[in-house]
């Protein structure tokens, strides 16, 4: 037992050390202007809706979204589909409910209140279907990676042929932004992978941007409310600070005249 602890401890320190060395040669992530950055940052509604389309048509076959419910898609600050649209979206998925009065589990179309249906029954099944790698849940992915949305955007566009001398195992792909450069997910986005219905051209960059925006929203669904409240709070505090400053000057002037 003692040794296990010691080894754990040493491994941790060793890993910490090697990570940092690798970190030093990390390459710059691709950077684009996100509409949701900055003091007044808001999501681009169209981008969120297209991002949802990319997620459902491309990502959702492997990546779960377990903390989201269908109702979230119509809520303020999100893609803001109409309630009817979201009801239709939900109804296209089957969920297991029950037990009913006969004690039987049954299948029914999903409702607004249901969580997003998972692509796999459990982690083991997900791993078995993906060559041992577990496709991470995407609910908070944009906050769970250093670099956030920039990292996700970069990885989606970072697939290229491995440099000469690098040999990859079967089912492993080369990605220049992925940590360690090896990724078990094959390139998910190609020109025209999805067909946008509003005429937006489905370039790789467009889809990557849209789905990254969507993932930022799933990770931070109250981002718009936060930015809005933040502005009000800071404005309020600033005005109050100025008022209190003058009160302070006035009060202290009573004794500073003696000084």
């Amino acid at each position: 037992m003692k040794n296990i602890f010691k080894i754990t401890y040493l491994t941790i320190l060793l890993l910490a050390a090697t990570h940092q060395v690798k970190g030093a040669e990390k390459i710059e992530l691709l950077k684009i202007d996100w509409s949701f950055k900055g003091l007044f940052g808001k999501f681009d509604r169209g981008s969120l809706q297209r991002g949802y389309q990319v997620y459902t048509e491309v990502c959702a076959s492997c990546h779960s979204m377990k903390y989201l419910s269908y109702r979230n898609l119509s809520e303020k600050g999100g893609p803001e589909f109409s309630v009817e649209q979201v009801k239709a979206i939900a109804a296209s998925f089957e969920v297991t409910d029950g037990p009913n009065d006969d004690g039987e589990m049954f299948e029914r179309p999903a409702k607004l209140s249901d969580k997003f249906v998972m692509p796999y029954a459990n982690v083991k099944e997900a791993q078995a279907a993906n060559g041992g790698a577990y496709p991470p849940d995407m609910s908070v992915l944009a906050k769970a990676r250093t670099g956030g949305v920039d990292y996700i955007y970069s990885v989606l566009l970072g697939y290229e042929d491995p440099p000469s001398g690098v040999t990859l195992d079967d089912g492993v792909y080369y990605n220049k932004y992925m940590y360690g450069n090896n990724i078990k997910m094959s390139q998910p986005l190609y020109h025209g992978s999805v067909e946008y219905n509003n005429g937006t051209e489905a370039t790789k960059e467009q889809m990557a941007k849209d789905v990254a925006t969507f993932l930022m929203w799933t990770a931070e669904p109250h981002l718009e409310a936060r930015h809005k409240m933040g502005f009000k709070a800071i404005l309020y505090l600033t005005i109050l600070t100025i008022l209190v400053y003058f009160s302070m000057k006035k009060i202290w002037s009573r004794i500073e005249s003696e000084v």
Partner: protein, 418 residues
């Protein structure tokens, strides 16, 4: 306590006050004579009280929605972030509030170091403060474990493993702390209980800290004793109250920027990945406010001695009133101490930096030198400086330099801010 006896005006007030002197206490607090030359570094006491209250209020609210269970904790935090009304606000205030609390406490501690506030007759205030600081670190560490992310889990594993360095009983103690053979559900539930308890202990100690402060009264930038009440003092209300309020509002603006515009910048991305005992994160680092001690821990090659060094780094502070032999409190009148003070500040910042870096190569060397210097400062430089240093003559009262030459005061003010 102030000299005059408070007598309530109303008959009921007198009846009540004779039985429970709450009105006398309120009167003492508002009239409390405070040196009039306190600068803005003295406003952090009030700011820290605010931080504690914010942490307790937001913490209670979070506890109503949080579930302390290894399988449910991460999900319950996401529930708070998504579905609880303003849950995201409460959680971000609480998480960033911890960092703001430490930012304020470090300024408060280094203000004490600069102006010699720990010296006689304020040793007990100082020691209570050190105990509060220790409890804050314990509480913050356990709080970081509660979201049950990867950094929570592995941070808990690394830090609790420190106890295994204790000879003979170390392994037993670690198993006892965990409530099992690894960090798991029993660890989480007990950390939650203690995380809930400690802030109230801190609150009690804060009362003692302030009580002990009100016996000798505040130190001040000049560091001389003031007669109270006198020309050198002002009543706490309204003079200090309004000044504290102004400083607090400025502090809240900074706080608000973190909460609303970069709520996750002080955290680690890995903590949004649910705890997984099978996967070790590439880089385990404690929260920023613990980094200097983490650097000291790792700078010693032997594990047990590393732990001893880390604990000594905190306990040496408790002995500070006796290690610093100089009778002069304020660094304003101690030209040599002032220089060593700033070297210490830089030394601690360097320790914080190397604490975030891998313990190898040049970083390890820097960590070792900085650790050595930290102890040299307290154990050698301070005791020697007390007898060797040629200090600047002290003014007789706070008002004296002002009355003689008004330009003097501004010099002192400027120096004390530098």
């Amino acid at each position: 306590m102030s000299d005059h006896e408070y007598v309530p005006k109303s008959k009921f007030g007198k009846w009540f006050n004779d039985r429970l002197p709450l009105l006398s206490l309120a009167s003492h607090l508002t009239d409390y004579p405070t040196p009039k030359n306190l600068n803005y570094w003295w406003t952090f006491g009030g700011i820290l009280t605010f931080c504690l209250i914010i942490q307790i209020v937001t913490g209670l609210t979070l506890a109503m929605h949080y579930i302390a269970h290894a399988d449910l904790a991460f999900e319950s935090v996401e529930h708070i972030m998504r579905d609880v009304n303003y849950g995201w606000l409460i959680r971000y205030v609480h998480a960033n509030g911890a960092s703001m609390f430490f930012l304020a406490v470090y300024i408060h501690i280094f203000r004490s170091l600069f102006y010699g506030s720990y010296k006689s007759p304020r040793e007990i205030i100082w020691i209570i403060g050190i105990i509060i600081y220790l409890l804050m670190m314990a509480s913050a560490f356990m709080g970081y474990v509660l979201p049950w992310g990867q950094m929570s889990f592995w941070g808990a594993t690394v830090i609790t493993n420190i106890f295994s360095a204790i000879p003979f009983v170390g392994e037993g103690i670690v198993t006892w702390l965990w409530g099992g053979y690894s960090v798991g559900d029993p660890t989480l539930t007990r950390f939650f209980t203690l995380h809930y308890l400690i802030p109230f202990l801190i609150l009690g100690l804060v009362v003692l800290h302030i009580w002990a402060l009100h016996i000798p009264g505040n130190n001040n930038p000049i560091g001389i004793d003031v007669k109270k009440p006198s020309k050198d003092t002002v009543p706490f209300h309204p003079y200090i109250v309004i000044k504290d309020a102004f400083a607090l509002l400025m502090f809240m603006i900074v706080f608000a920027f973190f909460v609303f515009y970069s709520p996750n910048i002080l955290g680690h991305a890995d903590n949004y990945i649910e705890a997984n005992p099978m996967v070790t994160p590439a880089h385990i680092v404690p929260e920023w406010y613990l980094l200097p001690f983490y650097a000291i821990l790792r700078s010693v090659p032997d594990k047990l001695m590393g732990v001893v060094a880390m604990l000594s780094a905190i306990f040496v502070l408790a002995a500070l009133p006796w290690l610093d032999t100089s009778k002069i409190r304020s660094a304003v009148f101690r030209p040599l101490y002032k220089q060593f003070y700033w070297i210490l500040v830089i030394d601690v910042l360097i320790l914080g930096y190397v604490g975030a870096m891998p313990a190898e190569g040049i970083y390890l060397l820097i960590a070792r030198v900085s650790t050595a210097y930290y102890f040299i400062h307290f154990l050698i430089i301070l005791p020697v400086l007390g007898s060797k240093e040629k200090t600047i003559p002290l003014p007789l009262s706070i008002m004296e330099p002002v009355l003689k030459d008004s330009s003097n005061l501004s010099t002192i003010k400027n120096e004390s801010l530098n």
